[in-house]
Subunit: 434 residues, 2 copies
């Protein structure tokens, strides 16, 4: 529709054709208004019943809410209109009439359950505040990619159908691949390492990962977006620098480019770009601090994994993003390298938001022998992973990286209650459609 | 490795630490050279045997090719060195020794079969010309996304695990989802339409698609990257404008930002940015032109699909990118809208490169009743797609869009013979690993 003007661009004095959805009709008797909504905002269309073509008035005021209409006419200033201007229609066409019974009210006046919203995402996304989440999500991905390029990394695409999962185990969705058993990949881990070991050196990928975990919580998805980085000649500290860079870049981009969206979400006041380096707290210090809060029933001892309650206690204590470094080796996966001077201590780290874990990373084990040992300790058959391990015999540099949960990043930045609000069509234990 | 200098940044007069792979060792007797390679290029390391520490010389010259080493020393001008500079090592450390027997020669002196290359991608990607393909691929994706944003579209992520395929049929990989039958999505078609029908209006996605086709050709993959666009209030001509914009933007970005990579591929002379609009040829005119070439054994008649031979004949005749428009409705999928004044004629279009089809697109059927009819005509049960069709009752605007094959775009831009050269870890009928 080449001649269409977005409502946000309609200026007094213009003759325009606008097209969009019927947001609301207000009939005041002699005068009536149709509020038309499009991607950029809303505009008031004025009907003066006695002075205008009868058919036009009848069509314009008889149409059901959420129908799609096209209106041509002159734009005039009107301080009482929601956006300060209004259109007096010369012509009006109903392009797509909506059923008067809607399963969900896009004006947002009636609250809807999460499942109703997800079943009717098209209608749900006609709400300004829902649209804002996904405009911001797109901006986050843009900013993160730009920041990865600033770090000299190259975007890669790794396969989602794989012969073996990264960590084996039962958390894989099985797939039939031309009669052979295969799986949906749970992480690009092994593949990004294989490319970091080539001349490309530093790589990133933003793509789907699949986990058959039976969790059904406000912070787990069975199909999620993973933001991955891997860099040759990097150690865990370099990887943490990259994490800090991309997370901060996401906040900065929103602050610079998404003020309207923040307003739609009512966040324009409270939104803040992190202005300090994220503290790097060793696992050992972390359990001490958690114990000191007195929030847990039982004191943590070295070697314990951190429960949600423990994470929350520490998050409240720190009050912002923080890293937990130097985890016990046995808690971290086999591909994470141990410290050279202490095999009990891994180079693995997590980036925590006060609400939840966002990132898991570390320096990787790049020594072939140690890697094979790691597979065996994990109870995995190294032969099944030979496609991966053999490349470690041909000059694998030290390397480090991380995986950042895309939806968790959106969720924590915007303070969303449920991770399902950060993805258009969530996949969980119960939901496979739409 | 915070103190490391990329070889490309090593300037005469600097004291540097460089790290990378041993590309080659040339021993000339009293003097010897180690060529060190990293992501940015190569640098010569000089060994004067009688004047340098014996251990250092022995370590440096005794190391196997493709081992990872770290060298510190002064950079000096040396016109006879491959890059005009050389390093005289003060110290040298072998970080990761390579097995002297390599399954593939990254210096490129020995040709390798495609399957050997794919089995050893890490080594394969240490070749300058292979690295160049993937650096360019990343640049193409960056440029395409930027161009989509120029067109006012928002990046979306749609699910890859779905309850029903876009076009049904047998070309779906089945997956077991918590005991339920599900599939890997073959196209984001239905999902992107659902979002185009919301306030977001214009959307794009670059993501994996999965097709269980038994093709095994140099131009088919079973897991591919699809570049998708959908826009509300767009018709097929608008969609073709967007196609033209993103494809041209990809060429322009390479021309501006990838001259080194084009040189590595020997394409610096022949690479050309398309400088004219892509001709839009109706299907009717296309079959006439194909028949006129005399290249086919049998004359085409209206309603025939175009064989590979037919496409090649027309491609040679046109000599560049071109659209084929106004296809017979029965050849195009049900969700493509027919012309209002001729139900036999669809608004579907393809973008063709002289070598192959790149894009399939069109205006979509947005009328609920017509859409249900389309499902039935296609032999699909509309009830199975109710999650999709019901949204067409609530004000679905006219909309249009397309899907562009990511690997085909890379392949045609760079003149690659086999689509497997355009993806890091291809998935085909035989290959599931790595």
């Amino acid at each position: 529709m080449q001649d269409r003007t977005y409502t946000a661009d309609a200026e007094p004095g213009d003759d325009v054709t606008v097209a969009g959805w019927v947001h609301e009709i207000r009939d005041l008797g002699g005068i009536a208004f149709l509020i038309l909504r499009d991607a950029t905002g809303k505009i008031q269309v004025k009907f003066e019943k006695d002075e205008m073509d009868e058919d036009l008035v009848e069509t314009g005021l008889g149409v059901a809410r959420e129908s799609v209409v096209k209106v041509s006419g002159a734009v005039e200033e009107e301080p009482r209109a929601p956006t300060g201007v209004e259109v007096t229609p010369e012509s009006l066409e109903v392009i797509s009439a909506a059923d008067p019974e809607l399963p969900l009210d896009p004006s947002g006046k009636v609250d809807a359950e999460m499942s109703t919203r997800l079943d009717n995402r098209t209608l749900d996304l006609r709400k300004e505040e829902v649209q804002a989440v996904f405009e911001i999500r797109a901006e986050i991905l843009r900013a993160v990619r730009e920041q990865f390029r600033e770090f000299g990394s190259t975007e890669i695409t790794t396969p989602k159908i794989v012969a073996t999962g990264t960590e084996g185990g039962t958390e894989l969705f099985p797939i039939t691949y031309f009669g052979e058993e295969a799986f949906m990949n749970q992480s690009p881990q092994l593949f990004k390492q294989l490319i970091a070991g080539s001349n490309v050196e530093r790589v990133f990928e933003i793509g789907p990962i699949f986990r058959a975990e039976e969790h059904n919580t406000p912070r787990h998805l069975n199909e999620a977006t993973s933001i991955d980085f891997e860099g040759a000649f990097c150690d865990q500290n370099d990887a943490m620098d990259v994490v800090e860079g991309v997370v901060t870049a996401a906040y900065e981009a929103i602050s610079e480019n998404c003020q309207d969206e923040l307003e739609a979400l009512g966040l324009e006041e409270e939104f803040e770009v992190p202005d300090e380096a994220f503290p790097r707290i060793s696992y050992e210090d972390a359990i001490e601090r958690i114990n000191a809060t007195g929030e847990l029933d039982e004191q943590l001892v070295w070697g314990d994994d951190l429960s949600t309650a423990a994470e929350e206690a520490l998050g409240a204590d720190v009050g912002g993003h923080y890293f937990i470094t130097d985890w016990p080796s046995e808690i971290k996966p086999f591909y994470i390298k141990d410290h050279d001077d202490d095999e009990q201590l891994s180079t693995g780290f997590d980036l925590m938001h006060p609400r939840m874990e966002l990132v898991s990373g570390g320096q990787r084990e790049h020594r072939h022998e140690k890697l094979i040992e790691g597979f065996e300790q994990q109870g995995l058959d190294p032969d099944q992973f030979e496609y991966y391990t053999k490349m470690f015999k041909y000059g694998m540099p030290p390397h480090a990286g991380f995986g950042l949960g895309g939806e968790r990043l959106v969720m924590t930045i915007l303070g969303l209650e449920n991770i399902r609000e950060a993805v258009l069509f969530p996949r969980d234990r119960q939901r496979l459609s739409p």
